[in-house]
């Protein structure tokens, strides 16, 4: 069986009385591309978030989101696959796919679990950066290094992912010229937090 035939058979199952699982084809043709866009975006948001969790090794989260995503795909998204001959519907599908990717990354950065390591390089104000982080109850370790203008500091700080942006603001407030980078790390043991 060809892919298109299989999808048509799937649609027939989802539309036993000429309806999709959630009655999408009853929508006016002008609205359908937007509905397809929304469904595909939601599907890909879950998929992207799941993939980031795969890299972090978080198995339970991967299983649950994988189950939800597959069930959502087959009940809602697969129902509109047969409608993609229409160019507007196809555009909605593709834009939903692309948007879901971006939304998934955005959601994960704000609500995702796990930690990141912030590495700050400061020419003159490394001590102030470390002190500002300590004052917020965050662990920070300052290491001395040699730069073009003499001794400079590298400050390592391990924070929950959702605190990366506020912590960056804290560092930049202590040294507006600090160079800050983020690394994805996993914790194996230990650590300190106020």
């Amino acid at each position: 069986m060809e892919l298109s035939e299989a999808l048509r058979a799937l649609s027939a199952w989802l539309m036993p009385s000429g309806q999709t699982g959630i009655g999408l084809e009853r929508l006016p043709p002008a609205v359908l591309p937007f509905a397809i866009f929304g469904l595909r975006a939601a599907d890909l948001t879950l998929a992207t978030w799941r993939m980031l969790a795969v890299v972090q090794g978080r198995r339970l989260f991967v299983w649950v989101t994988g189950f939800l995503q597959a069930a959502f795909f087959i009940t809602a998204v697969a129902g509109v696959l047969s409608q993609l001959g229409n160019l507007w519907n196809l555009a909605g599908y593709s834009a939903g796919f692309a948007t879901g990717n971006v939304v998934g990354i955005w959601m994960e950065a704000r609500f995702g679990a796990g930690h990141s390591l912030l590495r700050t390089i400061s020419r003159r104000r490394g001590g102030a950066v470390a002190a500002a982080l300590h004052a917020q109850g965050l662990g920070a370790t300052e290491i001395a290094g040699q730069g073009p203008e003499g001794t400079e500091s590298t400050v390592l700080c391990y924070v929950p992912r959702r605190q990366v942006d506020p912590t960056r603001d804290l560092i930049v407030a202590a040294d507006p010229e600090a160079f800050v980078s983020v690394e994805e790390v996993r914790r194996l043991g230990g650590g300190w937090r106020a």
Binding site: M1, A6, T141, I143, L188, G190
Partner: protein, 175 residues
């Protein structure tokens, strides 16, 4: 394409589940290989994943005629992702960079890590309550657990993080 999928009964759900597990295991492996820059492994897992998807999954999709099959489909998808992660972790291809922070026992940790046959570099840093040691150490991913136990035996409080690295030039890697 595959006539035996027209076999009715509870076996269809089991077949759907099994195919999705294999399919998604390979897909998850492929993504992890891509991230670690392992091109050959990514090519092979991608080839077999898409082959299974086209030959088998499309045949199954036309037979999703009950809620049990739908649950088997979604369950297989979810389980396959987790199986792929477990396989990749077991294979542990690649390298990890360990960063160990210890307020008091840095020197002893570096010595023990070297004793175990790995290279370790010790840096001194300043933490909230004074000086700390930062010991960095790059090892094969397979050996991460061993190094972690070595460190834990000396300083159970040591703060250890690990991240993926790709070697560019030289370095000392215990076989």
């Amino acid at each position: 394409m595959l006539d035996w999928f027209s076999i009715p009964g509870p076996w269809l759900g089991v077949i759907i589940f099994g195919l999705r597990v294999v399919d998604m295991s390979l897909d998850t492996l492929r993504v992890l290989f891509v991230i670690r820059g392992q091109r050959a492994a990514a090519w092979f897992s991608g080839f077999f994943q898409s082959a299974i998807w086209v030959v088998a999954i499309t045949s199954v999709l036309g037979n999703l005629d009950s809620w049990w099959n739908l649950v088997a489909y979604a369950g297989g998808f979810a389980t396959g992702s987790v199986v792929g992660m477990a396989i990749e972790e077991r294979m542990a291809v690649g390298y990890g960079h360990l960063r160990i922070m210890s307020p008091r026992r840095g020197q002893a940790i570096a010595a023990a890590v070297r004793q175990a046959g790995y290279a370790a570099t010790e840096l001194s840093g300043r933490g909230k309550d004074g000086m700390v040691s930062v010991v960095t150490c790059s090892v094969r991913r397979l050996h991460i657990g061993l190094v972690q136990r070595t460190v834990g035996a000396i300083d159970p409080e040591a703060f250890i993080t690990v991240q993926d690295v790709r070697p560019l030039h030289r370095g000392f890697w215990r076989a």
